[in-house]
């Protein structure tokens, strides 16, 4: 049968810690699911899609959780990632989004200022080449987004380096000792 092999491969996407703790258990539950499932092809396909999607999303969420855990350990003394109802952005993402929004608003304001500073009654006597506002914005936008993309990458690299250094584990130990 194909599914157990697929599921086993998908489990490799999880962080090692999660895999060690739940890996065999998840595979056992999946085996029970396959065993107890409806034999019809549609039901089998539905099960395969649901479980595959569940494992993919679960793996992503676990990696994300570890990343957020690091941030929490660094920003809040003794704090840890509490289980939340539904998805919420981490604080850093909100800050980044605020910065991006601020940048976009500034760019729009700057564009408007340029548009109002250019005289409209130049007429045919003085044919000055005026660069349209949207082209100025479009020219600046890629640079603008490239800057924030780079900033995001650097931020992620720092968090990743912290994770590799095991700082978050130390934070966990000091939390437990309290």
């Amino acid at each position: 049968m194909l599914e157990p092999r697929v599921y086993r491969k998908l489990l490799r996407l999880y962080p090692a810690e999660h895999r060690q703790m739940f890996g065999e258990e998840i595979l056992a539950v999946l085996a029970e699911e396959i065993e107890g499932a409806d034999r019809r092809i549609i039901a089998q396909a539905r099960l395969l899609v649901r479980e595959t999607a569940g494992l993919l999303v679960g793996a992503m969420r676990e990696h994300f959780r570890i990343l957020v855990d690091v941030q929490d350990g660094l920003s809040v003394a003794g704090g840890r990632f509490a289980m939340r109802n539904g998805f919420r952005f981490p604080k850093s993402t909100i800050v980044f989004m605020g910065l991006i929004l601020g940048g976009v608003l500034t760019a729009i304001k700057k564009g408007e200022d340029i548009a109002t500073s250019v005289p409209h009654d130049i007429g045919p006597i003085a044919p000055v080449h005026i660069q349209p506002v949207h082209s100025i914005l479009l020219g600046g936008m890629p640079l603008f987004f490239a800057f924030f993309y780079a900033a995001g990458l650097i931020g992620w690299a720092i968090l990743f380096a912290f994770r590799r250094s095991g700082v978050h584990r130390l934070a966990g130990i000091s939390g437990e000792q309290k």
């Binding site: 999660h18 703790m21 739940f22 258990e25 998840i26 056992a28 539950v29 999946l30 029970e32 699911e33 649901r50 479980e51 999607a53 569940g54 494992l55 993919l56 999303v57 679960g58 793996a59 969420r61 676990e62 840890r80 990632f81 509490a82 289980m83 939340r84 109802n85 539904g86």
Partner: protein
């Protein structure tokens, strides 16, 4: 600390463990039964939720004694039970309030 209100899947998982301890597959089936097939959890989703509940000490994990395969089972901790009760109280209050408001509007 867990924030209330809980999502429906998490609430159903906790309710599944409120009566008795259960292993993973039994929780999946119980959640499906309790919600009349509306909530069908994938195994990945279930174990993500179980992990968070374990970390927050709402549930605990132990090896089933009567199982020959040494299967892991889960049960509510006293903290988990207390928090579940708080959530139920919150929902009761909300439904009472909703009924009152809707009844007032109908008059």
């Amino acid at each position: 600390m867990e924030s209330l209100p809980l999502t429906e899947p998490v609430l159903l998982i906790l309710l599944s463990l409120a009566g008795q301890s259960q292993h993973g597959y039994a929780i999946l089936k119980d959640v499906e039964r309790m919600s009349n097939g509306r909530v069908v959890l994938s195994t990945g989703t279930l174990y993500g939720a179980l992990r968070r509940l374990l970390e927050d000490d709402w549930i605990e994990r132990f090896e089933e004694e009567e199982s020959s395969r040494g299967r892991q089972a889960y049960r509510l901790t006293s903290q988990g039970r207390r928090n579940l009760q708080m959530e139920i109280d919150r929902m009761k209050h909300l439904t009472r309030l909703a009924s009152m408001r809707v009844a007032l509007k109908e008059i």
